[in-house]
């Protein structure tokens, strides 16, 4: 693409090249620009409408892939990534900051804890119904198709964790690291 190094594109557009400086070029180690330096969010009717139509289907596909991890193509990780894509799309269409305000870190933390908790519940439940950690074959004695359902639950737990982590990483890259954290890092240097 037409980067700043391309001699053809930089002729006579000094004002444009100034704005295309890499975010980390000041050497401060920040991975993203603070809100004051970022270009303002400009809404686009086309993108917003498409995202509004597409988002429920993408989330449904993510859940579908999550639930089909045990029996066919798919799995918790892939489903979680697809589900997190919904949040990324919403961020692109409606601005990252409003979406990040709505989905706070505490909510993502609860999501992560729920996923890990599901996994650990199934895992340690294996000790109760069988002999080992994640001994899902033992769940057959608890209920019909217990093996299948417990594997699906493990996949859903993984998927929820992956979705939460990817959403959190996206918000971290999009809105910047908390200033308190950056200050703490500078103190240790």
């Amino acid at each position: 693409m037409s980067g700043p190094d391309d001699p053809e594109t930089t002729s006579g557009i000094d004002a444009a090249t100034e704005q295309r400086v890499a975010p980390d070029s000041d050497g401060s180690g920040r991975v993203s620009r603070p809100a004051t330096e970022r270009p303002p969010y400009v809404e686009s009717t086309i993108i917003m409408t498409t995202v509004r139509v597409i988002a429920p289907f993408v989330l449904t596909l993510g859940v579908f892939v999550m639930f089909h991890g045990a029996s066919s193509a798919g799995g918790g990780f892939q489903g979680g990534v697809i589900a997190a894509t919904t949040v990324v799309m919403l961020g692109f269409a409606f601005g990252i900051d409003p979406v990040a305000d709505r989905l706070r870190n505490e909510h993502l933390g609860i999501l992560l804890l729920a996923g890990v908790g599901t996994f650990l519940t199934i895992g340690f439940g294996g000790y109760l119904v069988g002999d080992n950690f994640l001994e899902v074959g033992g769940y057959e004695s608890v209920m019909h198709h217990g093996t299948k359902y417990s594997i699906e639950l493990v996949e859903v737990g993984i998927g929820v964790v992956v979705a939460g982590v990817i959403t959190g990483l996206f918000f971290l890259l999009g809105t910047g690291i908390n200033s308190v954290t950056v200050g703490a890092e500078e103190d240790t240097e």
Partner: protein, 112 residues
């Protein structure tokens, strides 16, 4: 071969052709906008034609219904993604590359 298979083969070959056109355009054209122009339109048509060919082969079934959904979503999302990229390029003041002295390019509007 049945006529339906001929149709499917024609669709897939057409899809491959447009995918090839998109690839050549992406590799050879100068600058963001020209490449986006080549890639988005031809690639959308190419993938849609190829998916339609597969759907014709599978006939009336659940799979072709899924492929129909895929076709609709491709037609919706691919141009929107291209629109978003071009838009953010303009907001970041990315200039069109290539023959910038061409008489039909309005310099003042380009610098605005």
């Amino acid at each position: 071969m049945t006529p339906l298979e001929y149709l499917a083969a024609a669709l897939v070959v057409g899809g491959t052709f447009f995918g090839f056109v998109a690839t050549v355009g992406l590799l050879r054209l100068p600058g963001l906008y020209a490449r986006l122009h080549a890639a988005s339109k031809s690639d959308t048509l190419g993938s849609v034609l190829a998916v339609a060919g597969v759907a014709v082969v599978l006939g009336v079934s659940t799979e072709s219904l899924k492929l129909g959904f895929l076709l609709v979503f491709l037609l919706l999302t691919s141009p929107t993604a291209a629109h978003a990229i071009a838009r953010s390029g303009k907001e970041q003041n990315v200039e069109p590359a290539g023959d910038v002295d061409a008489p039909w390019i309005d310099e003042e509007e380009g610098d605005a």
